[in-house]
Structures are given as structure tokens and as C-alpha cells.
Symmetry: C2
Subunit: 305 residues, 2 copies
């Protein structure tokens, strides 16, 4: 397990976004008795953290955050879950925020990856190490091959290949980590609203636009060259449920490069809905090491043996 | 005007899709007394053609089409308006369709541009010349510069540049001709459902995802290297209306490379709604000739002087 980390490390600050990922990390650490500070920025819905050591604060008060991290003996920080770009009120800025303002305001206008990299660099310049979710929880990354009961058809595999090319093209301009392709036709591409919204759009498409028996494939994969410590794409039982509502044949993820949140539950949901789950070998634009569970970029937290 | 064409040409077959473009072409030709056959495939809504010389037929019967074109003395064909990929019933195929079936079925699985190029080549191999809508109607292409009363802000211009980069990236994988960017963030990208659907999605975005005072910009432009004889992107009064409903600041089109359907009405709608209309100089990935009204690829119909 992750016991190795106990030996070497101080407390972890977990900057919680939406979705299941931050809850899974927090629960795992509590189970192991590892020190944790949950950071809940204004507007983030994370009721699971009630009763934990949690810091609630507005984005305009980073000074409080760094002070609390220091008080708890944090040496590392993990961003987990979906974050919405905050609407900042400069009148509420604390001194720390004023110092960071020019950089932070510029970052908010960038694509997701550029923005997150920038915020990571702010933490790093304060002396904190960025830790990836997949280095805190074992077995989170999608395996290679079909990992449910249903097999993709040849058409599904072709559709997945086309969707992967589309996601790569979008990633190059820092937009989206998902696309839906059916029978060669791109039904939709993920933008700011995320995968759930994409699947809702596909579910709303008029009858005539989709045909053939293929149903269609949701593909998720990271942007080429994105920072793997933050914002790796993820799927879970809810993704399966929404893909089924959109009439898709299955979900394809880049093996070793996408988080599966609640593997057992996800597979069960897919099997019941008759959807395939397939970890497609990455086209290797990301530096994958086939012998390692966690892929490079170099691990941010090396488990001691 | 377009009188020059009278001298040299036989009848035109107009394969009508949805939207205003085919109607505008047909009305212009009727006004000029030029011979025209309107081709209305099953499922296309084009009631304006009632009372004209119109051929209604299913996609499975291309034999009828070529026979009618021959009987009317057609030598040219123009595809105009949005086409939905047909769901074919092979049991209804006529002899001509059987001869074309392998090619046609493969084309239906391709991106829009690849598909349309393929269908054009079928007409060409039958001896017909493909004519672009913008070569039939004068003054259809977007001018360079602001062509309404409202000026884009600096932020709008930045957003338009980012959207143009996104559309170019999507075009390289043959997806979409439009994107919406607000304050640096990509709010949505056009896929199979088209621009109206994209603007509806943007209108539906939750409050928190968009901020700043920018509003956002819809950019439309052709795919890099696409066949300009078919499926050039278009805007019209309805685009303006939907962009206003989505809260956008304005619409940017690639100058000389996007059709404006009903210029006067479009400008009036934009002025009234307080939206800008801006023909942005193309990044010149398409071969634009600044001295010519119609851009290269080489004109399919050279007006005689």
C-alpha cells in the first residue's frame, strides 16, 4: 500500500475540487491515520469534508492558506477534483493575494493546463511539493485492455482511434480531454463544461444525426504534454450512467493515463448497462513506462521501499 | 451582376440543403430568368421550392437525378445549405446507386469535408461541373473589417484569435467550423450538430463557468484546406439572434471565407442587439487573393467579362 509515504512525509494539504476523487483520497488517508488538511475554496461542494480538519476560505485569501499549511506542518499539496474558475473580487484580496495578483489574474485567462501549471508553480515557489492523486491512491490508473465484460466491436475501435486523434488535436490548443465519435462522425467535443455536459449534449442530439448500429464511443485521454500531477482525466460510475443515457456503446480511456474512480463500481455499472470499458494503449505522446504502475512525468512522490 | 453566366452556361442543378442559402440562390436565378432544377432529397425541409422546377427523390435513387439533370440540359451542380447524413436503405437502391454504393457508404463515415469532396467527385465523374454558392451570388462573402455599428474590444480580438486557433486545430481533424471563446476560455466547439446547437449549449452553461465582462466571441471559419465549393461556413440574422441569447459580445468571421446570408438584415439584427460583426483577416492558411471578390481554390465558374 502507500505506507511508504508515512515514513518520509509531513502533512498533506488536499485542495478539494468537485467529484469523488478528493473524497477517496481523504478517506484513504484517514483510514491510514495520515495527517491531512482539506482545503475547500469558496463555491466548492465537498460536504464529505465536514468533521475533518478543513480550511474553508475564499480564493482572495491565499495568505490564510499558506499560514494554515505552515501551522499543520504540511510539506506537500495535492489538487484533486474539478475546479471552476473563480470570479475574483479584488477588494477582498489579502496581502498575499496582492503579491500574486498579476500572475493569478493572467492565469485565469489561460487554458486549463496552463492555468493549473501556473498555480502549481505558485505553491512550489512557496516551498511546497505538488503530489499527483494517482501517487496517493493505488490502482487508480486505467489498465490496458478491456476491463469489463463487454467487448468493443471493430467499429468501436475505429471510432476510438478517430476520437483519440480529435482529443489530441484539441489538447494541442489546451481544450478538452474527451470526445464522442459514432460511426466515424464526431458527435461532440468536451470544452469548459466537462464530460457530463458533453454526454448530455450527445443525448440531446436529434435522431437524424446519428445512425448505423454503432452507438458511439466516449474517449477520454490527457492533453499531449499536460502536467500529470493535476487534472488527469477521470471516469467513474456516473460517467457510465451518462454514457448509457446518451446511447453510447462504451467508454475508451488511454491506458495508464486516466483515473478510474471506484473501479469495481464502475465496471459493475458498465456490465449492467452493456457498455464496454477499454483501456486503449496510448499513442505514446505521453511518456509511458510500461513497467511502472504510475507513468512519467517523473513521480512527484517516490514511495520508499 | 451575374449576367455573364447566362452567356456560357446551361441549366444549373441546385442540391438544396437546409437554411437560407439555397433559397437565395434559387430566387436570384428566377429573378434573372436563368434555368434551374432544384433537387430536394428526402428529409430536406425546403418548402420555398414548391412551385419551382423541383425534383424530390430519396438518396437511394441517384439514377433519377442524373436522368433529370440530363433532360433539363444541366451542365453544373451547386450544393447549398446544410445537409444531414442520410440513413440509407440498400433495398431501395436503384442501379446507379448500386454502382456507387461502395464509394458512397464509405464516404458517409468520413468527416464533412471528406464526404462532400467525395460526392463532388461522383458528380464530376458524370461530367458535371461543381459550382460554389459564392460564385452564383454576388457579395455573399464576409468583408474585411467591422461591418456593423459595434466595435470589438481588445479582449474580444484576443478571444477571436484564440477561437481561430481552435477552429484551425479542429479543422485539421475535419471537425467543425466554429468555436466560442470568452475571456480566453473555450466555452464550446462546433461538432456534427452545427452552430445553432453550439450557441444553445453556450446559452445553457452554468453561471459560474463564464466570467469577466467579455461576453465571448463566436468565430466561424473554414477548415484549413477545405473544398471551398461546398459547405463554406455561413452566418445570418438567426446566428445573430442566437449569439445574443447566448450572451455573446459579437461574431467574428474569417474575411472572404464565410458567407453572410442576407447582409443587410444580419447587420441590422447585430446593431439592434449590440453585437459586433467583424471580418477578421484570415491567417492565410486558405489561399486568399486580396484583389478578387471570390477566393481561390481556382474559381469553378469564371464570369465572362
Amino acid at each position: 500500500m502507500t505506507d511508504g509515504m508515512l515514513v518520509e512525509s509531513g502533512a498533506l494539504a488536499l485542495v478539494a475540487g468537485s467529484g469523488d476523487l478528493p473524497r477517496l483520497i481523504a478517506e484513504d488517508r484517514r483510514r491510514q491515520g495520515l495527517p491531512l488538511l482539506v482545503v475547500r475554496f469558496e463555491g466548492v461542494h465537498a460536504p464529505w469534508a465536514d468533521g475533518m480538519d478543513v480550511l474553508d476560505l475564499p480564493f482572495e485569501k491565499p495568505g490564510r492558506l499558506f499560514k494554515a499549511m505552515k501551522a499543520r506542518g504540511c510539506d506537500r499539496v495535492c489538487f484533486a477534483g474539478g475546479m471552476t474558475r473563480p470570479r475574483l473580487d479584488p477588494l477582498r484580496f489579502d496581502l498575499k493575494a496582492l503579491g500574486l495578483a498579476v500572475k493569478a489574474l493572467a492565469l485565469l485567462k489561460k487554458g486549463d493546463d496552463a492555468m493549473l501549471r501556473g498555480f502549481a508553480s505558485i505553491f512550489e515557489s512557496e516551498g511546497y511539493r505538488m503530489v499527483a492523486a494517482q501517487d496517493l491512491l493505488e490502482g487508480m490508473l486505467a489498465p490496458e485492455g478491456v476491463f469489463g465484460a463487454v467487448q468493443p466491436s471493430d467499429q468501436d475501435r475505429e471510432d476510438a482511434a478517430r476520437a483519440a486523434a480529435i482529443v489530441a488535436a484539441m489538447g494541442a490548443v489546451d481544450v478538452g480531454q474527451a470526445a464522442v465519435v459514432c460511426d466515424g462522425i464526431c458527435l461532440g467535443v468536451e470544452a469548459i463544461a466537462g464530460t457530463d455536459a458533453l454526454l448530455e449534449e450527445v443525448a440531446r442530439l436529434p435522431e437524424g444525426l446519428r445512425h448505423g448500429d454503432a452507438g458511439g464511443v466516449l474517449l477520454k485521454g490527457p492533453k499531449p504534454g499536460q502536467d500529470w500531477r493535476m487534472d488527469l482525466p477521470a471516469i467513474g460510475p456516473e460517467t457510465v450512467r451518462r454514457a448509457a443515457l446518451a446511447g453510447l456503446a462504451g467508454i475508451c480511456v488511454e491506458a495508464g493515463a486516466v483515473l478510474v474512480l471506484g473501479r469495481e463500481e464502475t465496471v459493475r455499472a458498465a456490465d449492467e448497462a452493456g457498455l464496454f470499458l477499454w483501456g486503449r494503449p496510448s499513442a505514446a505522446e505521453a511518456p509511458l513506462d510500461p513497467d511502472a504502475a504510475a507513468p512519467a512525468p517523473p513521480p512527484t512522490e517516490a514511495p520508499s521501499a
